[in-house]
Symmetry: C2
Subunit: 386 residues, 2 copies
């Protein structure tokens, strides 16, 4: 089957998470991604758990469908080979600290002299310019500096990191989107260009209307746990054996919830008669609902509340969502046969394309698996001995 | 200036957040986005605060650069006009509940008969197929069902929603990426296609290695607050007037931190002599660090710790990140002149393209502002009176 990006060749200098997830998104769509790895050890994530037969599940997930060549970027002959590769490449992606590629002579300014059609994306913590550009980036720092941590968690608890590396993942997504826009532009005009993505900018962009609450109303959004800012009861509630979501956003749904709860006189209570009143007396209402929920398991409660016409859902743990029928039907976990690890279940791709579905052609590469295949012809061309 | 998507025409049936953010990403890159709105009231978010001269900051942010036409989708003449528009469109995007567009005769199957080159993306809570497809979607439900809420927050507190609508925002990003991949494919082959994006799949995809910890090791990741799963001290800590991040991932950084803290004998303490030992005695170490931090403000502590060579950052509140020099230099807030609201600062775009930077040609449209302009020619063609 023809894949959308099968004519696209990506030179991938990325390591760890943000960069590799970006190039994974391109590989999933058919791009030939050539991952340049440090000789001997490769991407740091080859050493990150979980492991299966000593192969990293972390690395395997992020680097499926890519090729690996070992090249020492401090060796001028390796740089010469890379410059040969650049001539035939469409995209370069890197996530070193700003300045590193320039020192190597592999920055956009240098490479566009070799191939003016190149699309070159850099992902970093704070971007290529700006006051913090040279600071080290961690996901926790991106979530903290981007404003998300300040509004995640409960008012009475400290600011909180969201439970996965959203700074990396969102930067990867904006970068993949940016690369596709730049490739599309190149199709029309022949013009390549440079793309600069910062993790902090990416997190800040995810804050949506929280930002305008400040710029327009000078309100500083605070931590409000899981509840809805202007509707109630719309929150996470404790049932007998775990937590559930109940989502009531108007009076009609509240009346339904009262019926489901056996009509304990709530809707006649002035504290709960309007959405605004309910939000003002949210803690009292929550206590009443959680008291009622103590008689039900999560499964019972979610079923009973949905049957009564009010949106409710469980809060799935990672094992539960992995084992859920939804995940199976949507192919959100895919089994990969790896030559060393054997069978491994890894995260799928949520972009469901009808005519060119995601095909993962190969498992993640062994370190240097494609060194010989890829550089053979360039060795002759550059008379280089690697 | 030439923008990458200036030849692309998008018919935008989306409302609220996920769909409008996706079409905003396309409009920012130059696409002509024609937003089809309910006569009289339009997109619900026109009624969402914050307001400036009664114009919604929420709507203004998400719908910049788009055109608005009022069309009643229950009116067959409106459907006829839409079908005329489809003939000249490149992309259709909608985020109704699955089935709604089919009832209107505007599903992909119907529209590809009119224009086989159309790229058509649907965004929904649970996707177009799967066991929960018909359930109503809220961001809270997507974060809960997608597994993120179960790992966000502290072990001793309930599962927690991340503080912004990540289910919507990530689905929008995957959709924009998918649309660009499909447009690129169409450039090569002439073939349009259908794209199905689920908010729950999008959240699940953001969980990165948390998923493989379960599929490979059968470990169910739990809530660990803001701390690092295998390194310490790498967490959020309380200083005198607020919280800071300290990120120590190895012994060398820990030695530096001890020096910064005036060497209180920590590194000689067997409880803290290795990363593993520190992680095991994390609470004791945190208490010691926070006790020391009580003598410093956030600003003093971050400066002192960074000067000593250890990564540290403040946790910026929304006002702080909005007012920060980084945000100004990176143009992450842009001022828009709106004909009714006046000047309004809205979120910028984190994709920094060197040759075709984001240009927002127009403010968000007034309801129906472009109805006459857009449908005039189709009225003649279809002899329709709207």
């Amino acid at each position: 089957m023809k894949q959308p990006l099968e004519k696209i060749k990506v030179l991938d200098f990325t390591r760890v998470l943000a960069g590799p997830y970006c190039t994974m998104l391109l590989a999933d769509m058919g791009a030939e991604v050539i991952k340049i790895e440090k000789p001997g050890t490769g991407d740091d994530t080859r050493g990150f758990g979980p492991f299966l037969n000593n192969e990293s599940g972390y690395f395997t997930f992020l680097n499926r469908g890519k090729k690996s060549i070992e090249l020492d970027l401090k060796n001028p002959e390796a740089i010469a080979i890379i410059k040969e590769l650049v001539k035939e490449a469409d995209v370069v992606i890197e996530n070193f600290r700003p300045g590193v590629m320039k020192k190597l002579g592999l920055d956009y300014e240098s490479l566009q002299l070799i191939n003016e059609r190149i699309v070159y994306a850099s992902i970093s913590g704070f971007g290529q310019y700006g006051p913090y550009s040279q600071r080290p980036a961690y996901d926790l720092v991106a979530q903290a500096m981007g404003g998300l941590a300040s509004i995640t968690g409960h008012a009475e608890h400290p600011p909180t990191r969201a439970g996965s590396s959203l700074g990396d993942m969102s930067a990867a997504l904006y970068a993949a989107y940016g690369v596709m826009v730049a490739l599309f532009h190149r199709e029309q005009t022949g013009e390549g260009q440079y793309i600069d993505i910062a993790m902090v900018d990416s997190i800040f962009s995810l804050l949506e209307s929280n930002v305008m609450r400040y710029t327009v109303d000078k309100i500083v959004p605070e931590r409000i746990g899981s509840r809805h800012p202007i509707s109630s009861p719309f929150d996470i509630y404790k049932a007998n054996d775990g937590y559930i979501v109940i989502a009531v956003a108007n009076d009609s749904l509240f009346n339904k919830l009262c019926r489901i709860m056996g009509d304990p006189g709530l809707k006649e209570d002035v504290r709960f008669s309007t959405d605004r009143a309910r939000t003002e007396h949210e803690n009292e209402l929550k206590a009443i609902i959680e008291n009622w929920l103590q008689a039900y398991t999560v499964e019972e409660a979610v079923e009973k509340i949905n049957e009564g016409g009010v949106p409710s859902s469980p809060i799935l743990t990672i094992d539960e969502i992995c084992e859920d029928e939804h995940t199976r039907v949507r192919e959100m976990l895919i089994e990969m046969e790896h030559p060393v690890a054997g069978k491994m279940k890894i995260l799928g791709n949520p972009v469901k394309l009808s005519k060119t579905p995601v095909v993962i052609k190969n498992p993640s590469p062994l370190l240097g698996e494609h060194t010989r295949e890829i550089i053979e012809k360039y060795k002759n061309r550059t008379k280089i001995n690697i």
